[in-house]
């Protein structure tokens, strides 16, 4: 389902024939994709299928082996870090492990991008900005906490607040609900939707949590072995004929994997008791 004729102007973020190899192994294989402005695009796929690597190419944290990446019609994959710095201020990136700076307080974490890019003379305005962003994620009052004293869900929310500190045009979420309990996951899903509406931002979400994918996604794309195998809205994905897609969305193990498990030996052959070693 690769779209060969994707043009740089087709979306806010466009990849053309994007290929990435590590030590000869192909992680991304000729991906051409246009991400539409103002919508939430969800990228699903099993662990290790290249979702996160793909996302990192969208902000040029990784450079492609072949192919091109365009942001607002301009090519970004060949820019040097200095030129990229300016472009990256239009992005918000929410990392899988939150990636908050543990030597800084929540307040300092959120003001980090602003302090790096602007000459701040009015600390009051900065206080107000932090308060507003924290209120948006429901964490106002936590300004002076250190990340180490927060729970996983709280860290995720602070990471969200930091990602939107500079009012980005595009927000990238790397597995926002992984490792969270079902209720906290749902809170994060609601937040993703809320941020999209209130900030009018384009979102790209990488996840393997189908509940989350259906809830936040305007469009769902499934990656498998570095290629796009399905691309459409939630209903389209639900009714997709491809076996791999059906197995993935229903969390069902395939026949091949089951056969491999059966080959792994019987209970008696694999179980040792201390007396065997005497």
């Amino acid at each position: 389902m690769a779209r060969k004729s994707v043009q740089p102007q087709d979306g806010i973020l466009v990849t053309r024939h994007l290929t990435k190899q590590y030590n000869g192994g192909v992680v991304l294989d000729n991906i051409s994709l246009a991400i539409e402005e103002g919508k939430t695009t969800v990228i699903i796929g099993p662990s290790g299928c290249g979702k996160t690597v793909f996302m990192k190419h969208l902000i040029a944290l990784e450079r492609p082996t072949a192919g091109k990446v365009f942001f607002q019609g301009k090519r970004i994959d060949d820019l040097d870090e200095q030129r990229l710095a300016e472009i990256r201020t239009k992005y918000g990136f929410c990392f899988q492990m939150s990636a908050l700076f543990d030597s800084l307080t929540v307040y300092e974490n959120i003001t980090f991008p602003a302090r790096q890019h602007y000459r701040i003379t009015d600390d009051k305005a900065l206080d107000k900005m932090v308060k507003q962003k924290l209120a948006l994620v429901g964490m106002d009052g936590f300004q002076n906490y250190y990340p180490a004293s927060l729970s996983g869900g709280q860290k995720k929310r602070i990471a969200l607040a930091r990602a939107i500190a500079l009012n980005p045009e595009i927000i990238l979420y790397d597995e926002p609900t992984t490792g969270l309990d079902p209720i906290t996951s749902d809170v994060i899903n609601e937040l993703v939707n809320k941020l999209k509406e209130e900030m009018n931002a384009t979102s790209v979400v990488v996840t393997h949590d189908m509940k989350s994918a259906y809830k936040v996604g305007d469009r769902i794309i499934m990656l498998h072995n570095g290629r796009i195998i399905a691309d459409g809205d939630a209903d389209y994905i639900r009714n997709h004929p491809h076996d791999v897609v059906q197995q993935f969305i229903h969390g069902r193990v395939g026949e091949a994997e089951l056969a491999a498990l059966r080959l792994g030996g019987t209970r008696f052959e694999t179980q040792f008791t201390p007396k065997d070693f005497r």
Binding site: Q82, A85, I87, R88, Y91, A99, D102, Q116, H117
Partner: protein
């Protein structure tokens, strides 16, 4: 076997190139950081952790070096009746070689290990990627202040090590081995030159720069997981240690050559 050799050569050349680029970027960023008053608080924080907190261990190192030198050289010199000249030997050795080198090695362990572990953990937990994703150069933000602090403070720490080493040697010689204090100091003053002190301290800049650059590089390029960070720390220490010894050898030759070429005009200076 040839294939293996070729692969290793390519790997070594690649790593050297990457390190050279990193070192260049770090030093260029350092020069730029010096011109940005906004970054000064970060440099001061690093100076505190790298410099101020290292003073006790560096002083202890220096003291023991001076004391041991006195104990070890006494017997040899006393045989020849030269024990009063011990001061020259001790102070020259401490100021030229042992003070700078041992202080730097102490720093490689204390500061280098901490730098690699800190940056390595930041790398593994994606904090360095986070800095990049927010449009900030991690080398400018994280590496430059650390290299700068290490580079500027290693010479100062060497002065501390020298000072305490001199005192340690003096106390053992005069109070334990009962050498005449006046003779000890006057022979020392005649034997140790300004040049010895200058070269010892000058080496400190290079040692400090090498320790910080190698440690930060290893932290930035460490592999995933606790084991990755541990390996990076070990590699950083071994790398710093070897480069301190190597740089010391090179600079001893260079400074000697400079000294000899200016020796004839020394009275004029």
């Amino acid at each position: 076997m040839i294939e293996q050799l070729g692969r290793n050569v390519i790997r070594i050349v690649g790593n050297t190139g990457r390190f050279a680029r990193f070192a260049w970027a770090a030093h260029a960023a350092m020069a730029r950081t010096l011109l940005r008053p906004k970054a000064y608080p970060r440099i001061l924080t690093q100076m505190y952790t790298i410099g101020v907190k290292s003073v006790p261990v560096v002083m202890a190192t220096g003291a023991f070096v001076g004391m041991i030198l006195a104990l070890q050289s006494y017997d040899q010199l006393a045989h020849m009746g030269l024990e009063e000249r011990m001061g020259v030997l001790i102070n020259k050795a401490v100021i030229r070689e042992l003070g700078p080198v041992l202080a730097a090695i102490m720093l490689a362990g204390r500061v280098g290990g901490a730098l690699t572990a800190e940056l390595g953990t930041m790398n593994v937990t994606e904090q360095i990627s986070a800095v990049r994703s927010m449009g900030t150069d991690p080398i400018r933000y994280l590496v430059a202040p650390r290299v700068l602090a290490c580079l500027l403070l290693t010479p100062l720490l060497i002065i501390y090590a020298d000072l305490v080493g001199i005192l340690g040697g003096f106390f053992v010689s005069v109070f334990q081995l009962k050498i005449n204090a006046g003779a000890y100091w006057s022979y020392s003053a005649a034997g140790v030159e300004m040049w010895d002190i200058t070269t010892g301290i000058l080496k400190g800049f290079f040692f400090g720069g090498a320790i910080a650059t190698i440690s930060c590089y290893k932290g930035f390029n460490c592999r995933e997981g606790a084991q990755g960070v541990g390996e990076a720390c070990t590699e950083a220490f071994v790398g710093s240690f070897m480069s301190i010894l190597f740089l010391n050898y090179v600079f001893t030759i260079v400074f000697d050559a400079v000294y000899k070429s200016f020796w004839t005009v020394k009275p004029l200076l």
